[in-house]
């Protein structure tokens, strides 16, 4: 096989594996979310379909497929159909630059656990997170109804406001590691201080981590920042008029977003696939590395669920005040201190 064909085949295989993995995780998370809600609120949660209700996502998927596709009479048809895609695609495309472990060998070929080019990973993530606004805004506009429009407008203001502190928090990490490459950022966090504290960025960048985590909740439209779809005021916000598979795409997009955000937190602040002790070399080491990455990401996914069923929702003015008067100055201060304290190239 020629080298070009081989690269192409490997890339296609990677895309298939990552896409399948992400969609599988989304299905699993929709179960974890409801069982977690049950656990926290002292009730069973879905437990009828399959063992522990594990087949519930399959039943939901079938229901979405067989539901009638409705396009509201007042909707702007093309944009109405485009909006769910514009939510789903950027969320999934983010995974192209997220490295998920160390290289491993298959049939004598070294495979990087990463689809796209790594050198501009951080910028690519920022670009896609900027694009994810479109789906919600357009859904709100195209539905031709009041509540979605208000939800769409709210979300624009929210996403734009919270993107700025998120970017600044990210840049502190970029400055500390002097790289826009996730692999380099993660490798900067290898090893341990005093032999037992892992050199994860969460310790020197605790403020940055806090800002990043809070803004990630807002960027994913999760409680306590789920104002674009606040059901008490807006029915279901921007996706009120959507049903069947078009609603499912929004749902998939939101959960893919959450998985991407959890992976990002792991890569940026919790040492990615690094553990505070040595791991075996070769394919076994790669497996351990991936397991470490997956476990950390899984914890942050659970944190999303935990927060959702614990905290009440912010009011809109509180949300804006928090974004502009607390998170933004904190992120700025953190960046300034990082630049003053960190010597370039030194952890």
């Amino acid at each position: 096989m020629s080298p070009l064909l081989l690269t192409l085949a490997i890339t296609v295989a990677k895309i298939a594996v990552v896409l399948g993995g992400v969609l599988g995780m989304v299905a699993l998370m929709s179960w974890v979310e409801r069982r977690g809600a049950g656990l926290i609120q002292d009730r069973p949660g879905p437990n009828r379909v399959g063992p522990f209700g594990l087949l519930q996502p399959v039943a939901d998927g079938l229901k979405f497929l067989f539901k009638e596709e409705v396009i509201p009479a007042k909707a702007d048809k093309w944009i109405y159909l485009l909006a769910p895609l514009l939510t789903f695609v950027p969320a999934v495309a983010t995974f192209a630059v997220l490295p998920m472990g160390t290289p491993f060998t298959v049939l004598g070929t070294v495979v990087e656990p990463l689809i796209g080019p790594s050198s501009i990973g951080v910028l690519y993530v920022l670009a896609l997170s900027g694009l994810s606004v479109y789906g919600i805004v357009l859904a709100g506009f195209a539905s031709g109804s009041k509540y979605p429009l208000i939800g769409g407008l709210r979300s624009t203001a929210q996403l734009v406001a919270y993107e700025i502190p998120m970017t600044l928090a990210l840049f502190s990490v970029v400055y500390a590691s002097q790289s826009l490459d996730f692999t380099v950022i993660v490798d900067h966090q290898a090893g341990a201080w005093f032999g037992f504290i892992p050199r994860w960025y969460v310790f020197p960048q605790i403020v940055g981590f806090f800002v990043f985590w809070v803004t990630a909740l807002a960027e994913c439209n999760r409680v306590p920042f789920d104002l674009p779809e606040a059901e008490a005021e807006l029915v279901a916000g921007f996706h009120t008029e959507y049903s069947a598979m078009k609603f499912a795409l929004f749902f998939l997009g939101e959960y893919a977003h959450m998985i991407a955000a959890s992976s990002l937190i792991t890569l940026l602040y919790f040492g990615g696939w690094h553990l505070p002790f040595a791991v075996p070399a070769g394919n076994l080491g790669a497996l351990v590395a991936f397991a470490a990455f997956a476990a950390k990401t899984g914890f942050f996914l659970w944190l999303f669920v935990w927060v959702r069923w614990t905290l009440p929702r912010y009011r809109y003015d509180q949300l804006m005040r928090l974004g502009w008067t607390v998170l933004l100055p904190l992120a700025f201060l953190n960046l300034v201190i990082t630049v003053l304290v960190c010597r370039p190239g030194v952890n």
């Binding site: 910028l123 670009a127 826009l180």
Partner: protein, 163 residues
């Protein structure tokens, strides 16, 4: 491979560009502009200017055009879309300007024999940053002042509306 991608996305960019001018509804036009920006970003990437490609998306698609959409949604321009009929003078001027820009662009490439962009040095983020803070420091700072003035101006104008 690269040539095929270039041709495909250059063609798409032109198509979206035409749509920006042709579509009557302001929302559709703005979305076409997003398409143009996306295609340009791919072209930058193919030329090896990865930083520029990403910044193109972050700044224009992610920030500027979202604000365009915001304004279009707030103003409700549906009535505007129906009666938008350009004055003949406007049409003529647009055509003349279009022809002039086309001649200038093609002429520059033909006369000056500019080197192909792919043969230029591929700028890394670090190189770009160094240039901005040394050789181009003054223009860079001047632009930031201009942007600040624009922001303050916009704020003042918006304030007057509220009173």
């Amino acid at each position: 491979m690269t040539t095929a991608l270039f041709l495909a996305f250059a063609g798409l960019a032109l198509l979206f560009g035409l749509l920006v001018a042709a579509l009557k509804h302001p929302l559709y036009a703005a979305l076409s502009l997003v398409g143009v920006i996306g295609c340009l970003s791919v072209l930058f990437y193919l030329l090896g200017a990865t930083f520029l490609a990403m910044v193109q998306l972050i700044v224009y698609a992610g920030a500027t055009l979202v604000l365009f959409l915001f304004v279009i949604m707030l103003l409700d321009l549906r009535g505007e879309a129906r009666q938008a009929e350009a004055h003949p003078v406007q049409k003529g001027m647009a055509l003349v300007l279009f022809a002039a820009f086309l001649c200038a662009g093609v002429g520059t490439v033909l006369v000056q024999k500019l080197p192909l962009a792919t043969k230029l040095v591929k700028p890394g983020v670090a190189d770009l940053g160094r240039l901005l803070f040394t050789r181009y420091l003054l223009p860079f700072e001047a632009v930031t002042l201009l942007l600040l003035a624009a922001a303050v101006g916009a704020f003042l104008l918006a304030r007057k509306e509220w009173k």
